[in-house]
């Protein structure tokens, strides 16, 4: 009969229409932005820089090796190396990025920077609400805007972050076993001059100021010199440097920071 097929199709539509009121899995509308679906753990959207501890500038894992800059397909990363060095998570002095910009209007979230990074320093974010009305400055993120803590990384990619932490802890344990004697000597020295460890505080107070690579050594010296005078009170709440040097404890961020701090005065001291 002519029209049979049409009727059959309409029956299908009717079944779907009725089903959309009854079946739970068919009610798929989510009223964004009040309601949000949880993102899958693997989801990725624009990279960020991981830092350990609480101070983004001191804790950045990036050592400005510029591999991601070279491998980035659309070339959206711009890195300037620092002139001086700061200790990394194993306490080895490394250069750091004096400038690390990502133009997210160019970035295509392909994750290649994450894959090629040998230092686990750059990871993918899940933030997607990045609309801005400033299309020049607003989409060019500098290293302060890119910095996210390790805890944040754990929050968005828990499995991956735990693996990364275990790997880093292994490397750190290896490095520590190697340089234990040296570290202890440094810790003993640092214990003699406790306020020097608070050099982090002034830097944290004005993190927005990008470090001028030329002036960096000079300002650093000035900060270290000023630190005992200006910032003794805020340091009271901080863990005393030199107490957490044993690497046997699990890698909580405080431990990491504590493990880093003794190395810092040893770097600052010859300059100060």
């Amino acid at each position: 009969m002519l029209g049979d097929g049409i009727l059959k199709g309409l029956a299908e539509t009717a079944r779907n229409f009725a089903g959309s009121f009854v079946s739970k899995e068919r009610m798929t509308t989510v009223e964004y932005p009040e309601e949000r679906l949880p993102l899958p753990e693997a989801s990725r959207n624009f990279p960020f820089l991981v830092y350990d501890g609480t101070d983004w500038e001191k804790g950045l894992r990036c050592v400005a090796c510029q591999i991601c800059e070279k491998e980035c397909p659309p070339k959206c990363i711009y890195i300037e190396k620092s002139k001086d060095k700061k200790p990394d998570y194993v306490g080895k002095p490394q250069i750091y990025p004096a400038k690390f910009d990502i133009d997210i209007s160019v970035c295509m979230s392909c994750q290649i920077c994450v894959e090629v990074c040998p230092f686990e320093a750059i990871k993918m974010d899940t933030q997607f609400e990045l609309a801005t009305d400033d299309r020049f400055g607003g989409l060019l993120l500098d290293r302060k805007q890119l910095a996210r803590s390790n805890e944040y990384y754990h929050e968005i990619h828990p499995t991956e972050a735990t693996e990364v932490d275990a790997r880093l802890a292994g490397e750190k344990a290896k490095a520590e076993a190697k340089a234990k004697g040296a570290a202890e000597a440094a810790a003993a020295k640092a214990a003699g001059a406790p306020p020097a460890g608070s050099a982090a505080t002034p830097a944290a107070a004005k993190p927005a100021v990008p470090v001028d690579p030329k002036a960096a050594p000079a300002t650093k010296d000035a900060e270290v010199a000023k630190a005992p005078v200006t910032a003794t009170a805020p340091t009271a709440a901080k863990p005393v440097p030199g107490t957490g040097t044993d690497g046997a404890a699990p890698m909580t961020p405080e431990d990491k920071k504590a493990a880093e701090t003794p190395a810092r005065p040893s770097e600052g001291e010859p300059k100060a």
């Binding site: 002519l2 029209g3 049979d4 097929g5 049409i6 059959k8 199709g9 299908e12 539509t13 779907n16 798929t28 899958p40 753990e41 693997a42 989801s43 990725r44 591999i67 491998e71 980035c72 397909p73 295509m108 979230s109 392909c110 994750q111 290649i112 894959e115 090629v116 993918m124």
Partner: protein, 390 residues
């Protein structure tokens, strides 16, 4: 819209020869369909010459989405081209990844672990299902079945895209395969979720068939329209469902046995008449065959690594030579041709896009049909402009 003859030249403002020479007749009409026409699947233009409602000449005009894909790839490392291949046919980024990965693997003789091969087959067949479902949805939308069939197709596609997102991190720009394997391993939970989605797919195909396959309006609009003769299809290098809709038995999964396709049992659906309805049905049946491949592949996914441990990601410099990797992408034969001179980037990088080559017979299929049929014929070719223009 512009009239033919001298007026056209004045209006266009440049020395374009008119498609037809109708001095003083004024009866033929030259219409530019597109690039903003909603039925053109992106930015594509058809310059159509009409005699009343009948098409007497058709010229495809493309290049609006040209992004310099091949030249970009020649200036970059082999790895850096991988995310760009996602953007060729953005409906089937995983197929594109596989074709490019296969070309590089052939170039350097790189083996691929068993588990990665299985994952590739699973992902490619999922891609085929979602591509065919949405192609049919778009085709029906252009036929006037506004919205509903397309939304049914997209409801199913959504489930598959969710799987892609939870595995690769992205819904469409997956960037998942690498030379010598895949980027990340699939968890058992992911495989279970995939099994669940695949188990629901036959019901969807049944529903879709009941929904419109025997619809009289659809049959009246599709059958006998846009016929592509098999000899023309072969001579023009057509591939994919277009070619099989014309009755030519050519499926690269069967011909080439790339990957591990020789281990799976599946049939190749063929059309009889080469019209729009046959292409529609070939896609419908291919979805069923894909589901059967998926069931076979998901039954025994082996363990092991997903990446060859010897494979290099950075500092990748293949020896001088050439390689051509081709796969049966949902739209046809997708091939990547690479020439290496031993440097870090390819000396020549060439894409053989199925969409572009399937588009070359558009005029032959459209001549003599009505304007409304042009939209359908074009829709049944199944193109993505990202791949046509590159």
């Amino acid at each position: 819209m512009s009239f033919s003859g001298t007026k056209t030249e004045k209006l266009a403002g440049w020395n374009r020869p008119p498609l037809i020479d109708t001095d003083g007749e004024g009866e033929l009409l030259e219409v530019a369909m597109g690039p903003h026409h909603p039925s053109t699947h992106g930015v594509f233009r058809m310059d159509v010459v009409l005699d009343g409602e009948r098409v007497i000449k058709l010229k495809p005009v493309f290049g609006y989405l040209h992004r310099n894909h091949e030249q970009l790839a020649q200036g970059q490392s082999y790895l850096a081209s991988m995310p760009y291949t996602d953007r060729l046919d953005y409906f089937c980024s995983l197929s594109n990844n596989w074709a490019y990965g296969l070309a590089v693997e052939k170039l350097v003789g790189q083996p691929v672990p068993e588990r990665a091969e299985y994952l590739r087959v699973i992902l490619a067949e999922l891609t085929r299902v979602q591509n065919h479902a949405s192609t049919i949805g778009f085709l029906l939308q252009e036929m006037g079945a506004s919205g509903t069939p397309l939304m049914y197709a997209f409801r199913e596609r959504e489930k598959i895209l969710d799987l892609f997102e939870s595995l690769t991190g992205s819904r469409m720009m997956c960037n998942y395969m690498r030379f010598g394997g895949c980027r990340v391993d699939a968890s058992p939970a992911w495989l279970d979720a995939t099994r669940k989605v695949v188990a629901g797919l036959p019901a969807f195909v049944d529903e879709f068939e009941r929904f419109l396959m025997t619809n009289e309006i659809l049959m009246a609009r599709c059958q006998g329209i846009g016929v592509l003769r098999p000899d023309l299809a072969v001579n023009a290098g057509i591939s994919g469902p277009m070619l099989r809709g014309s009755g030519v038995n050519y499926d690269i999964r069967k011909v080439d046995h790339y990957g591990i396709y020789d281990r799976f049992k599946f049939r190749v659906p063929l059309g009889d008449h080469g019209d729009i309805y046959d292409r529609y049905m070939v896609r419908m049946l291919e979805m069923r065959e894909s589901i059967s491949i998926l069931n076979q592949a998901l039954k025994d996914v082996p363990g092991g690594p997903v990446m060859d441990p010897k494979a290099k990601i950075r500092n990748f410099r293949p020896k001088a030579g050439e390689g051509y990797g081709r796969i049966e992408a949902p739209k046809g034969e997708l091939g990547f041709y690479l020439i290496s001179d031993g440097g870090p980037n390819p000396y020549r990088y060439r894409v053989r896009p199925p969409s572009l080559i399937n588009l070359t017979v558009l005029e032959d299929m459209c001549l003599g049909s009505n304007v409304a049929d042009v939209v359908l014929i074009f829709g049944s070719v199944d193109i993505v402009l990202g791949e046509v223009d590159r």
